[in-house]
């Protein structure tokens, strides 16, 4: 299990937002959004805050850290 997990896919679905829309608003590529949603890439702190801001939730609702997880 990865050390950093996220609920972006669920939060995005609730807002009927596409991966491309989220990517455009955060300023990353759609491929990066896909990688983050699949827990294959942990974004920088700045990007994580931007994602949370765009989705309108606190950071910890978007991303969770599991110290037993694998980096």
């Amino acid at each position: 299990m990865p050390a950093i997990r996220n609920q972006i896919r669920e939060l995005r679905a609730l807002r009927e937002m596409t991966q491309q829309e989220l990517a455009d608003r955060v300023g990353v590529t759609r491929q990066t959004v896909i990688a983050i949603e699949q827990d294959k890439y942990s974004p920088s702190l700045e990007t994580a805050f931007k994602v949370a801001l765009v989705l309108g939730v606190p950071l910890e609702q978007c991303f969770q850290y599991d110290p037993r997880g694998k980096r």
Binding site: G27, V28, T29, I34, A35, K40, Y41, T47
Partner: protein, 142 residues
Amino acid sequence: MATSLSYREKSLYASLAAELVVYGPYFFLHQQNSVNKVAGMIIGIIVLQTVLQLVIALVTRNRVTDERDRLIELRGYRAGYLTIATLMVLGLGMLWFHAAVGHMRLDNRMMGLHFLSVFFGMLVIADITKTATQIVAYRRAL
């Protein structure tokens, strides 16, 4: 889930194709010992890369690059550097060894061209390693 290629990925595939098309004949068809072939190859790679990258830039609407692209680029350069450093140590070691035991004379033109090709080959291998590492990183999502 379908993941279409990003601008950077398309650019990398084009680079790899250009490198294989230009460097392949040079090394595998044994055209090394000719200054004209080396010059032709250098001009060929510059022209082909320019044309391919121009076409990709023109046909790709979204040319955004981000932190993940930069991270993957750094991984590629690290792999390329490790490759060239290893090959250079091996190459210089072999050169030193052969010169020390008197197996070869280093003062003739053919030997100069031979070593030009050997060290140029190292650069090419390192460059292809860099590009391939980046492509693999993109395919594995990182």
